[in-house]
């Protein structure tokens, strides 16, 4: 693992060194080619997945679309490049994509050694535990001595071992090759609980025989902040991506949705809303994009809450609880700096 990490880092440092100098001017390049090149997964439910018509949908995809709406005024001008976990950073460093929005956890090493910058967090993920509702459990601490289904060879397994050891609890891990197998085994009663990253756990829950009988325990035992990232060395582009995401979160906080954005733009007296929707000229000057950038984002993509509900939340099959992904003034930790 260490050696793999070293090779990956060495390759990417090489890449960063080779391409860092020319990284500036992403916005110009994007305008010239007419689309944003966005790196996504090859299929993670709710985050980026092609729908029946072949359109990409998901929470991560909405970030790509928001950036396209801000930079080009058209959210559909995105070229999606599906990437696997190993090639994602090289694809960004080599210029194959302009923006990586692919369930990528923001960590120190990635942010500082791979020649990339994380532009924010669009989903606070973490490892959690799913149990059957009729067991009446309320906390992971009550899982002492339990058998727990888990995917083998992942940090998930290690996190769980660490957590149980530090809390002086016993457990028997039952390991499987894939998350799907672990979920099925849990569903058929092979284990008392099932653990993985919560965003995936909810997706897997939908395929169980009775999804409503399965609940997530409140403890989240690891931090997995997922967010979009860009190449280092082009601060203008970095700002556009960062503020596209911030605009979506701010829009939700201000109550601006894709449905009422025209009305709000025309009649709202709230200065924050006016600033968000381009009522104050020159705000977007530093980013080199049009003043109605945030209006375009909300109009074409929606605010963060709409995107969340549509892709992973209450209007989607996964039905993930907003939890910590709620706004800061609503019990969560989603907080965007003000637009002014």
């Amino acid at each position: 693992m260490l050696r793999k990490a070293f090779i990956a880092t060495a390759t990417l440092s090489l890449a960063a060194a080779a391409t860092g100098a020319q990284a500036a001017g992403t916005l110009d390049a994007v305008k010239e080619q007419g689309y944003v090149q966005c790196g996504v997964t090859s299929g993670v439910p709710g985050f980026s997945v092609p729908d029946e018509q072949g359109n990409w949908v998901g929470l991560d995809v909405d970030v790509c679309r928001a950036v396209a709406a801000a930079a080009l005024g058209d959210a559909s001008k995105v070229k999606y490049t599906p990437l696997n976990a190993k090639e994602r950073f090289t694809a960004l460093a080599s210029g194959e994509i302009d923006l990586l929005s692919r369930v990528t956890t923001w960590t120190l090493t990635r942010d500082t050694q791979l020649g990339i910058n994380f532009a924010g967090v669009n989903y606070y993920d973490g490892q959690g535990f799913m149990v059957k509702k009729d067991l009446g459990l309320t906390s992971v601490k009550e899982l002492d001595g339990a058998t727990i289904c888990v995917q083998s060879g992942t940090t998930t397994e290690l996190n769980m071992a660490d957590y149980f050891r530090t809390h002086g609890l016993e457990h028997t891990p039952v390991v499987f090759d894939t998350n799907e197998q672990a979920a099925t085994a849990f569903d058929t009663g092979r284990c008392d609980a099932f653990t993985t990253d919560l965003s995936q756990a909810y997706g897997l829950r939908t395929r169980m025989t009775d999804p409503s009988s399965v609940v997530a325990l409140p403890e989240v035992i690891s931090k997995e902040p997922l967010g979009p990232s860009v190449r280092q060395g082009d601060d203008q582009w970095f700002n556009i991506v960062k503020w596209s995401l911030n605009a979506m979160i701010n829009a939700e906080e201000l109550g601006v949705t894709s449905a009422n954005v025209d009305e709000m733009k025309a009649s709202s007296e709230n200065p924050s809303v006016k600033r968000l929707l381009g009522g104050e000229a020159g705000l977007a000057e530093g980013m080199g994009i049009s003043d109605d950038w945030a209006y375009q984002i909300v109009k074409q993509v929606g605010n963060y809450g709409e995107s969340f509900d549509r892709n992973v939340g209450k209007d989607s099959p996964q039905n993930i609880d907003r939890g910590i992904n709620n706004l800061w003034n609503n019990g969560g930790i989603m907080y965007a700096p003000p637009i002014r």
């Binding site: 390759t11 090489l14 890449a15 080779a18 391409t19 020319q22 090859s42 299929g43 993670v44 439910p45 709710g46 997945v49 092609p50 729908d51 029946e52 018509q53 072949g54 070229k79 999606y80 490049t81 599906p82 990437l83 696997n84 190993k86 090639e87 090289t90 694809a91 460093a93 080599s94 210029g95 194959e96 799907e180 997706g203 897997l204 939908t206 395929r207 989607s316 099959p317 996964q318």
Partner: protein, 366 residues
């Protein structure tokens, strides 16, 4: 006393027909009878649920997962996604271009494959020279008023076929050249061929694809982006060429030395000797090996999913991750397996037919 010829009696009833066949093949002695019964019972118990799942209690009609209620296979999922499985993200109004290319190819293959249709020479030229050009412009577009379709929109079965067909068509002639090179008496040509073959055979295809997709872009100057599909195609072709070369070399070695000497004594030059005497005989013997390589190549194309190209397998996998259809992966994979099987089995049958047709007395089966 009559010396009249009696009419030939039919064989006893229990040695002909279904009963006779069964006695001979299934119940030939107590041990075989027991084996037959046990295997029949096993086949019955194992196959009934599968057949029931796949046909009788399967759901065929509908549009959403709510239509899949019977507990059997949910073919609705495949039905809803079939366009995507076949065409990937190719714009729907342009899919006629994929269809046209496919049917052109099919027609040409039939022309070549069915012995009764004349003018094979023209067909060969059309297939190997004209068709690739036509198909290239049809698929990529951008000329003659056709809308340009970027390769990142290609996918599904059509991408699998593009990868497989290009790999096959390009690797066979290159493989022949390499095999001739390896058997050449010119030291430089020979050593280069050996080095090439041994290097490419020594690395797994997955490494080649990974190199092509991850490492290669790093060596290009900024702004020069090399199409990902093209990189994969080149990688697959270079890889398969090495295998093909070894198959061809096997065929060349099977030709008796006398044939070479006879050609030499007729005063034929190297290329005349190869093209007119050696290769026609060798290629015929190589059919099983070549088809084996083709089938392996066809299946290997699904490895491109690890570099983010959506071939048939990858696009089905992506579809099974659609939150609306989560949990119907089995149907998807069964569909993929069936499609792959149909293509591979057809290739295998055609090769057997070719072997029979070209059988001219060499080998032990004469």
């Amino acid at each position: 006393m009559k010396y009249e010829l009696q009419p030939t009696l039919p064989p006893p009833a229990n040695t002909i027909g279904v009963i006779g066949w069964m006695r001979k093949h299934l119940f030939n002695g107590p041990l075989n009878s027991i084996a037959t019964l046990v295997l029949a019972w096993l086949a019955f118990t194992l196959l009934t649920p599968v057949i029931d799942w796949a046909f009788f209690s399967a759901n065929w009609a509908g549009t959403t997962r709510e239509d899949c209620t019977s507990g059997g296979a949910c073919w609705v999922f495949v039905g809803q996604r079939i366009d995507q499985f076949l065409y990937g993200f190719y714009p729907r109004e342009e899919t006629w271009r994929l269809n046209l290319s496919f049917f052109l190819m099919l027609a040409l293959i039939l022309w070549l494959a069915i012995p009764k249709i004349p003018a094979k020479g023209i067909a060969a030229v059309l297939t190997l020279v004209v068709f690739p050009v036509v198909a290239f412009f049809l698929l990529t577009g951008g000329v003659f008023g056709l809308e340009a379709v970027d390769t990142h929109q290609w996918g599904g079965l059509s991408l699998t076929l593009v990868l497989a067909v290009v790999g096959m068509v390009a690797s066979l002639p290159l493989g022949v050249l390499l095999a001739l090179g390896r058997r050449s008496e010119m030291p430089i040509v020979k050593s280069l061929s050996v080095v090439y073959i041994e290097i490419w055979r020594g690395v797994p295809l997955i490494t080649v694809l990974f190199m092509a997709s991850v490492m290669l872009p790093l060596f290009f100057p900024e702004g020069m982006s090399f199409d990902k599909l093209l990189r994969a195609l080149i990688g697959i072709t270079l890889f398969q060429t090495a295998y093909m070369a070894e198959v061809v070399r096997g065929g060349l070695q099977a030709i008796p030395k006398g044939q070479y000497e006879a050609a030499d004594s007729l005063g034929l030059g190297y290329w005349q000797k190869m093209i007119m005497i050696i290769l026609p005989q060798a290629l015929k013997m190589m059919i099983p090996g070549v088809v084996n390589t083709f089938i392996a190549l066809f299946k290997d194309t699904s490895l491109v999913l690890i570099i983010g190209l959506f071939d048939l397998l990858a696009i089905v996998q992506a579809a099974t991750n659609d939150p609306k259809w989560i949990g119907y992966a089995t149907e998807g994979y069964v569909f993929v397996a069936l499609v792959f099987w149909i293509f591979c089995f057809s290739m295998s049958r055609y090769s057997q037919y070719l072997e029979k047709r070209l059988q001219t007395g060499h080998g032990n089966r004469a």
